[in-house]
């Protein structure tokens, strides 16, 4: 063993200088990375272990009070709970799926619309950026005003067109769909911008060839552009889904703790928050959070799996 190394070293004396550089670089890259890695690692590894640990205890009331291990009881409690846990799972899935599907469709349409330059493109891009950067709190407040059951402009418009008045966020049945549409309003621009960036990187030739072959606009979109846009679309859907699953600010700001009087917008995130900070059930809350995190990871893996990955 030792002799082989000696031989290799002896055989390549010229590389020594480069090696020092390589070793320098190796040290440097870790030095440059260390603070960021240490920071993110510390801020996330400890909480994950802590939460996982707490999920198997009966921690309640105060985290600095004594607690004992109870095995998987919290997980069983959560999974057996059809009053709060499962409806919250359902609402989370419904909200995310509904919002992301609509955002993808509208975002794609808008991106195709904005693909070729026109006068006012800059202005429209600016208008699209504003909702993205505005705090969800302000978004919630402005829609509360617009959708106010008695004094809102939305109902004013509806009634002036002869349509019936709606309660929107004041109603138990309309709250979740309304919030879904607000989410669509705020986040469709994100989809559009991501897809526009993707469209900009596509080569022009395949589309041109299709045009020469006599393909119509829809056919070119369906059979040429869409497949090429696939990877970007995939990333955009994953990014949006992860954020939509975890929506908190908008829901909490407009409907308060517990997601309204009938829990009508209580998603998993809102439920976990309530268990932690309103009920102080740290053990159960941790179990719900572990399940929630696992679910998000599963969704990401599922969405990232390409159709051809199945055959491979």
């Amino acid at each position: 063993m030792t002799s082989t190394t000696e031989v290799v070293r002896a055989a390549r004396p010229a590389v020594r200088g480069e090696r020092t550089v390589a070793r320098d670089n190796r040290r440097l890259k870790w030095v440059m990375l260390a603070p960021a890695l240490a920071f993110v690692g510390l801020m996330i590894v400890f909480p994950l272990l802590y939460t996982l640990n707490l999920a198997f205890t009966d921690a309640f009331g105060a985290v600095n009070a004594a607690h004992s291990y109870v095995g998987p009881r919290n997980f069983l409690d959560a999974l057996g709970d059809t009053r709060r846990f499962w409806p919250a799972v359902g609402r989370t899935a419904l909200f995310t799926a509904g919002a992301v599907v609509l955002e993808t469709v509208f975002g794609l349409a808008l991106a195709m619309l904005m693909r070729r330059a026109f006068r006012g493109l800059r202005l429209l891009r600016t208008l699209l950026v504003i909702p993205l950067l505005t705090t969800p709190l302000a978004i919630g407040i402005l829609w509360l005003l617009i959708l106010d059951p008695t004094n809102g402009i939305a109902n004013h418009l509806l009634t002036s067109m002869g349509l019936p008045r709606q309660e929107f966020l004041g109603s138990v049945s309309q709250s979740l769909p309304t919030l879904m549409l607000i989410d669509v309003w705020q986040w469709t621009p994100m989809m559009t911008l991501l897809l526009l960036a993707g469209l900009a990187t596509l080569p022009g030739e395949p589309e041109e060839a299709a045009r020469v072959d006599g393909a119509g606009a829809w056919q070119r979109f369906r059979y040429v552009v869409l497949p090429m846009l696939g990877p970007t679309l995939g990333i955009a859907v994953v990014l949006r889904s992860v954020d939509a699953l975890k929506t908190f600010d908008l829901l909490y700001a407009t409907k308060g703790p517990g997601g309204g009087s009938d829990f009508e917008v209580e998603t998993l995130n809102i439920y976990a928050y309530g268990l932690t900070f309103d009920y102080q059930e740290y053990g159960l809350a941790s179990a719900v959070l572990v399940l929630f995190t696992v679910a998000i990871v599963c969704v990401v893996i599922l969405l990232r799996r390409r159709p051809e990955g199945r055959s491979a």
Binding site: P35, G61, N64, T150, G170, G256, G260, S261
Partner: protein, 437 residues
């Protein structure tokens, strides 16, 4: 001497892991921003955390006198009730020493905080100080301040349910719940945006105001330690209150807590309003009220079991167990809840918890006469709680409030009440488990 800050130390490994990790975090970033620790100096203020309430505003006027008395600055921070709870949870979970005096709700938080070991034992102090006259406090209020045989808080504000009504619309306040229903329905004119009745309808917030109706129909939240909300009396009370808000109340009632319901009455859009008597000053303030000349006060009407309004100590003062200024904090309680200050504050129109203040004609004269009469009547016949007496009050209210919301929305109350009853029964088992742990 500071007491051991952690009531029950968690297993050593976890703790040392946390210390280690925290040490790295603290060392790596911003260690310089950490507040100084150690024994408080003369300059350290006495920190009082309270809710934004008329009592807090009244006492802060007198605080300079107290600062003079003890030669130490007092820093008072006033938050909304939700923010206050949040603050306690964060700071006391971290064994924070930056809270000395805590304003809290004995019926909402005391059992939990006591369970967590966050409250200093005041038994020796209240009974050992003859001038404080602990026996002068209303008996029911003293009982709520005592957990497991220890006095952990001192009551400062008391509340009873009251019926607010418009004397320009109703000649005589309704004496029975049937009267109230009938008159409310008659006065409702939705087209003109006028409502016979307004009250809280939000699942959690409405429970305390609904309690007086529950008692009037002969029910209670728990009966012999078991859920009482599935019983026929409770179902009738749910249906009654639900119908009142559904048919005579404003739209969107299920979103209403105190902050939303009160302005509707104050702006002259409702004939009746049931809420705590301690908030009456809102209706007499011309800045927010258009009814200051037409509002009148009455006890809550009687049901089949008579009139049974709640009568509770709503806010109390406690001393944080982690406070480094235990003696000074107690001095604050002694001063703020002492016989003299309670008399002064009650003369400002804020109902306190001392018999001496209640029996003094001068302090009684500060309330409108019909309100004073209603208050006196309610404290004689009242029930000493307005929410389930459990460890996890927030969760219990969320369960108990469900049939109420169903009633307001026009759903099937008996079905929801049956389901909530089962859930409440499970909850009580769980709550007991925590309590015994």
């Amino acid at each position: 001497m500071p007491a051991d800050p952690r009531p029950g130390p968690p297993p050593l490994t976890r703790r040392s892991f946390g210390r280690l990790a925290a040490g790295v975090a603290g060392g790596a970033a911003l260690a310089g921003c950490a507040p100084g620790r150690g024994a408080p100096s003369r300059d350290t203020p006495l920190r009082v955390m309270g809710v934004n309430h008329v009592w807090s505003q009244a006492i802060s006027k007198y605080v300079p006198e107290f600062e003079e008395l003890i030669g130490r600055r007092v820093s008072m921070s006033l938050l909304t009730a939700d923010q206050l709870s949040n603050s306690y949870n964060v700071k006391l979970n971290a064994s924070g020493t930056d809270i000395d005096v805590m304003m809290m709700r004995a019926l909402q938080e005391q059992l939990l905080f006591a369970h967590n070991g966050w409250l200093a034992d005041l038994t020796g102090r209240v009974t050992g100080d003859a001038a404080f006259r602990w026996a002068d406090f209303l008996q029911a209020a003293r009982e709520r301040s005592t957990t497991g045989g220890k006095v952990l808080s001192v009551p400062i504000v008391t509340e009873r349910a009251a019926l607010y009504y418009r004397k320009d619309l109703v000649a005589k306040p309704p004496a029975t719940l049937d009267d109230l229903m009938e008159t409310s329905l008659r006065l409702t004119d939705r087209g003109a945006n006028f409502f016979g009745f307004v009250g809280r309808g939000q699942r959690n917030g409405s429970v305390s105001q609904w309690s007086s109706f529950l008692y009037a129909f002969g029910g209670d939240f728990t009966i012999d330690g078991r859920s009482g909300i599935g019983r026929p009396e409770a179902v009738t009370a749910y249906e009654y209150y639900g119908r009142l808000l559904r048919e005579a109340g404003p739209p969107g009632a299920t979103n209403m807590t105190l902050e939303q319901a009160m302005p509707i009455f104050a702006q002259g859009k409702a004939a009746f309003y049931v809420d705590a008597d301690a908030i009456y000053t809102n209706f007499l303030d011309p800045k927010v009220s258009t009814v200051q000349d037409t509002v009148a006060f009455a006890p809550v009407p009687a049901g089949p079991r008579g009139a049974r309004p709640y009568n509770i100590p709503s806010w109390s003062l406690a001393v944080s167990r982690f406070s480094l200024l235990q003696d000074e904090a107690w001095e604050f309680l002694r001063w703020a809840a002492g016989p003299e200050m309670v008399a002064r504050i009650q003369a400002d129109g804020i109902p306190g918890a001392r018999t001496s203040a209640w029996s003094a004609p001068a302090t009684l004269a500060s309330f409108p006469p019909d309100l004073a009469a209603a208050m006196r009547r309610s404290s004689e016949i009242g029930v000493g709680h307005d929410r389930p007496e459990v460890l996890q009050v927030g969760r219990a209210r969320d369960i108990v409030g469900r049939p109420l919301v169903a009633g307001i929305l026009g759903g099937s109350v008996p079905a929801v009440a049956r389901d909530a009853d089962a859930e409440f029964a499970d909850f009580l088992v769980r709550d007991n488990r925590y309590r015994e742990a």
